[in-house]
Point group: C2
Chain length 363, copies 2
């Protein structure tokens, strides 16, 4: 950890860790909601992605094994079992979401209050050193991103990895090699992708700065529209807006492209390879007696489990979007700096200096 | 349409239609990107959700039909075909996302510029009648929600319904009744859910107003912190903040609960019923000759296709979140009104009147 921190990991690590501590405290405080909110969606996923296909695999094996056509009476237990499993899974999902909604709402409420209380306790100098607009944004996103964090935990982490555990146990009974191959391929993909996700983080940071520069300038122009009019500076403001927007478009595309053309071009072939490997293993077992059942189970389990590979990317993206708590480690940054005083400076200087130079000062 | 418009449909319909016209114009302008951005993800979904399972179904039928165990050589074409289909599908996804990223970025850039140009063209009175903060938010969300709109179109509409069409054609060859049952159940669910989605819209609108009241007050307190200090009003501000946050939590839960406990309790059983019905039909065909193949196809196709039912809810949610264009139909609303002047009023009145009354005036 020490060495990675010194090797240029984004400086938001401290604030992010702090936000995570606040979020963790809310999860602990609301633990009666946290437990079912995390586990019930996972249970629902187990039913839908792993138990229901198992019923189908058994039914298919029964049809393939029987010499005569299956009667409706003999098939009915399978169909009813299938419907029952799905219905229970949906009930688990509804119950889980019910708790998750309460967890999100109560956590957000508390974090809104904590955030403002912290700010009210600050001294006057703090407010002179920080822009009200950026503090507002930080209070709001510190609280509202709790929802994003908890949902990612419930859906992408617990809701994916607990079912994977269940699926591994079932697969083990068919062929231990199926489990080994699946877990090794997932782990290898994770290891390959992790450094790429980190590298993209730098691109995302630059993108977010560029977007903040756009919104800062928009807010600034609109708030000082009288002054803009007084100096007949509409055209200059519009040009500046266009150049900031173009820069933000460029950096946005760069970060999106990195995800699609760099990270997912690793994940996608690995996921295809894993699925094909699973099928190949299942076919070899099929020769040894389990027959069609193993093929259906391997196909459905592998295609559910390999979806985790694409989540790596997503989890990495989300966990970094956590807002820092308001009132901590707040410092002026070029990107977040509004241009209102730069604008006044421009107004005063525009007679003697060419406007583009002044804008450079303003940025 | 006439009668539904008069029966309390939210008044945002006009602005939403206007925003959609702007968005549609961007899609037409960038049509060389729009076409592949919409169709390639749909093609990818066809491969992953409909062609790959078909290969598996054929393989299973081959194993079930053969008297001896399948040799690896005989199975290899299936495994390679399966891997090839998945790989091509992933390539289609990457290509589609590449175009979609460009469509999103260029569309957003243009809409940012259009939004600001419209505002620069307004007269001074417009800026005195509107709050700069709310105009800023509107310019930014008008542009950035283009991404949400286009992504929903690509992933949830075109990316789901085009593959459904493909799946229906394949199912038709197995048994036309499978297609009829699937489409009828999807249509019935859509019709049942539509009025519920509309009713929830009112709840969402009230929730968003409550959240705007929270952020308005936060921004207001922070921006006027000197005045808050001068009147030693921190505690009063904190109490007001808490009550606004509690109200927003209450309304947020109400709208979330409507989605989970009211809408999805209709969708989920319908989806389970459809899946069970598909399986039952497949079993009856299995008696007539297609055997295990039909069961595997029906199971995988139905479970892919019924996911559309849950998207109804999602599409409805997204399409209503489209921002109105800045500078159009903008009027003062109680919810968006900042409390800065109410705060000064409070400062002046607090000696003679109880604070809670003053707060009522301020809201």
């Amino acid at each position: 950890m020490e060495s990675s921190a010194s090797r240029g990991i984004p400086p938001r690590k401290g604030p992010v860790a702090l936000a995570l501590r606040y979020y963790g405290r809310e999860l602990a405080r609301l633990r009666r909601l946290t437990a079912p909110a995390m586990l019930l969606p996972a249970l629902g996923n187990i039913g839908i992605n792993y138990i229901a296909p198992l019923v189908i695999a058994k039914l298919v094996a029964r049809i393939a094994g029987g010499s005569a056509a299956l009667t409706l009476g003999a098939a009915l237990p399978y169909v009813l079992g299938f419907a029952g499993v799905l219905l229970l899974s949906e009930a688990a999902w509804r119950g889980g979401l019910h708790c998750l909604n309460r967890l999100d709402a109560l956590g957000i409420e508390r974090l809104y209050v904590i955030g403002m209380d912290e700010l009210f306790a600050k001294d006057a100098a703090f407010f002179h050193d920080n822009f009200a607009g950026s503090l507002t944004k930080r209070v709001l996103s510190f609280a509202s991103r709790f929802e994003e964090f908890v949902d990612a935990l419930a859906f992408s982490v617990v809701g994916r990895f607990v079912p994977l555990l269940f699926g591994s146990v079932v697969l083990w009974f068919y062929e231990p090699l199926l489990v080994v191959a699946l877990l090794v391929m997932i782990a290898v993909t994770g290891v390959c992708v992790l450094p790429l996700i980190r590298r993209r983080q730098a691109l995302v940071g630059r993108r977010e700065e560029a977007i903040a520069r756009v919104s800062g300038h928009v807010s600034d122009s609109l708030m000082n529209m009288d002054t803009v009019r007084a100096f007949a500076a509409e055209e200059r403001e519009a040009v500046e807006h266009r150049s900031r927007v173009a820069r933000s478009r460029e950096l946005t595309l760069r970060s999106w492209d990195y995800g699609n053309l760099r990270i997912d071009t690793v994940v996608a072939p690995m996921s295809v390879l894993t699925n094909a490997l699973g099928l190949l293993l299942a076919v070899t077992i099929a020769g040894t007696g389990h027959g069609v059942e193993a093929v259906v189970v391997a196909f459905t389990y592998y295609s559910s489990a390999t979806r985790i590979m694409f989540e790596f990317n997503w989890i990495g993206r989300r966990s970094k979007r956590i807002a820092r708590p308001p009132g901590r480690r707040v410092k002026r940054r070029g990107a977040a700096r509004p241009t209102v005083d730069s604008f006044f400076r421009m107004g005063r200087l525009s007679c003697s200096q060419p406007p583009h130079k002044v804008w450079v000062m303003g940025c």
